[in-house]
Symmetry: C4
Subunit: 214 residues, 4 copies
């Protein structure tokens, strides 16, 4: 009789430690309560290797066993991996885009509220805030950032296709982030540090907009 | 002349440590300020043994002596136990239901406000939020969660009977939680981890509803 | 030529440690930012000895030298004491009342807002909240707590006389707390633990009222 | 072939440690999220030497290498310094004024909202709050503090000239702080402790005003 091999021990991986710290930080802020949110970072290209949070883990107490190594189609790299997040397809879609090395998805109160408030318009602009300069490539507050909102869905393949088509909308291209309705924020960066900074910048701006008149 | 025996030393019990951590965490969040809130977890069945916070303790500084062992009727297991919370009857009622191993009761600002806002309707629905998937057994955001509101009372026996009858209301069954008017939230889970997660999920959703238009 | 004697070293006094912890806790909550707030506890009676925070100290970093020993008239016990808070007279007035062993004064956003909102009515009632049971002597939520509001003043002797007369108003007696307009909250207890609990209970209730419709 | 000399090691400088603590503290409060904010303190006069945060650093994780030594015109003291913040000119302008030894610039939600709400009036008064006494030189709550608002700009030389002229406006002189529109708060003090206290006092008062009716 054979036993399943033990889960891989990744306690010494710097990426694991960085993601644990991010989970504790975002949980403290109220952006990743309960088992909400998922985070990923690219470990290799050719072929793509992505480390992503496993499904259903408390984000303030991520252990080295709460991560999954997946390939470019979001499949676990081996039979010993835990179950990846259901939203892995959105992560693999995003890290295939140029310059994206990490994806962070959070569930904050203000993102949830704004995703409903502006859903009928398909999204909203954030413009003219100094804080926008914290987003990669933005060098002046005189910037208009489009934040698209997609309807929430449990059909991840369909949702991923819809997102992929909309990201490059010539009228309103997505640069740094989008929202899922009554769900949360997706943002990314060339590495975890940049993606973490984008979460802070965007959550700040969403709170500012959320506290402005409806 | 006889002395009362000393309070039981439970500093090494994992359940005590888990409840201390929960108290500190919920206090930091503002969900259990002062001596508000009470928490319990099942230690044994046949006969039922429940460990519950003692009456009137500060939740950010629970000591191993601030817990009581009670039986299925909420009576202290021995004469050396401290006084259990007045609301013990609500806990014993809940842990007799299938699949309930822990009960957490919190007092947050948003629970207090919503319990008044929707009292005349007997409760309110929370629906269509991704965050609902953090509740046990919910697998899609397309879910309607009924949160009943009961009038507050100091007559715990009467309140417990009223709650018991309403939980299985065929029109609007209670699945995960209810509110007491101008008082707070009751939720539960198969164990402390699940109940703790339900508090985080529900407090998040109450804040979202509370910040939406009145 | 004589040097002034050094400030008394009180680093081992339990009251000093308790007050340092309270300062750090209330600062974290946002109830004692900057040099606002002052705290005191009775050390002896006959004659009255009160330990109170010195004037103008940051409450998140109180050192053992940031406290003053004063007598029943609020005068420093010796020439080596630092300058007591300007509001010492309010503390000595309160600790002369029966059952008062500690006084805590905080400056929160919600206390400031409510002290203005209800000033014209001379105060407001807090009633029918379970959280009221955290106040000493309150055993049911069916309780009406009167919170008087006094106009702010830099003339502490005049303000103390006005407060003293109003505390025992037969129509609306003050039980646990009062506000100073656009200034903050005063509450007290038989000891520091009780007074600290009263701050938590009252700040919670002020936030609930503050977030209710104006 | 020559290597650039290593960045100066300033890990033992007390000013560096104080600025690191300020960054962590303000980040926790939500006043310096992401790479927003910059802080400076005077190290010497004749000639002026100012230590200021380097450009684009996360404020919750400032390292001893994230600071720049600049002269009175905001130029790095040597070729081995990192790039100073773009807003260095505002800092050097401020520390040339009498009694200013440190400048702290933060980006809070309430500062951002108020800087827009009152922009058309050129600023707003804060008056009649006890908390104002935490500002240097203010001894009574019966004080009117003018907070000017300047339009945001990426042209720091032009902005610095505009600020310099307005600070001494005889009608509405600036005493402790000003805002940049949709950007943040500038305040200062004779040293870092005083400037840090001014941030706490002003952020508190901005939140009070922000939560008052629009």
């Amino acid at each position: 009789m054979s036993h399943p091999p033990p889960l891989p021990d990744r306690s010494t991986w710097p990426e694991v430690r960085a993601l644990q710290e991010i989970g504790a930080h975002f949980h403290r802020r109220g952006w990743s309560l309960g088992t909400s949110s998922n985070y990923s970072t690219v470990l290799g290209r050719d072929p793509l290797q992505l480390l992503i949070t496993a499904s259903g883990k408390d984000k303030d107490r991520l252990t080295p066993r709460d991560f999954v190594l997946v390939d470019g189609e979001g499949r676990p790299a081996s039979a010993t991996e835990p179950k990846p997040s259901a939203e892995t397809l959105l992560h693999t879609l995003l890290v295939r885009r140029p310059g994206v090395g990490a994806v962070l998805h959070t569930h904050s109160v203000w993102a949830t509220l704004l995703s409903q408030r502006h859903f009928a318009q398909g999204g909203f602009f954030i413009d003219d805030f100094e804080m926008l300069k914290g987003l990669a490539g933005v060098t002046t507050h005189e910037h208009r950032e489009w934040v698209a909102i997609f309807d929430n869905s449990q059909d991840m393949a369909a949702l991923a296709r819809q997102v992929e088509q909309a990201l490059d909308d010539p009228q309103r291209p997505t640069r740094h982030a989008f929202l899922l309705r009554r769900h949360g924020l997706y943002t990314w960066g060339r590495d975890l540090d940049e993606a973490r900074r984008h979460v802070e910048i965007l959550e700040f701006l969403l709170e500012v907009l959320g506290r402005s008149a409806n």
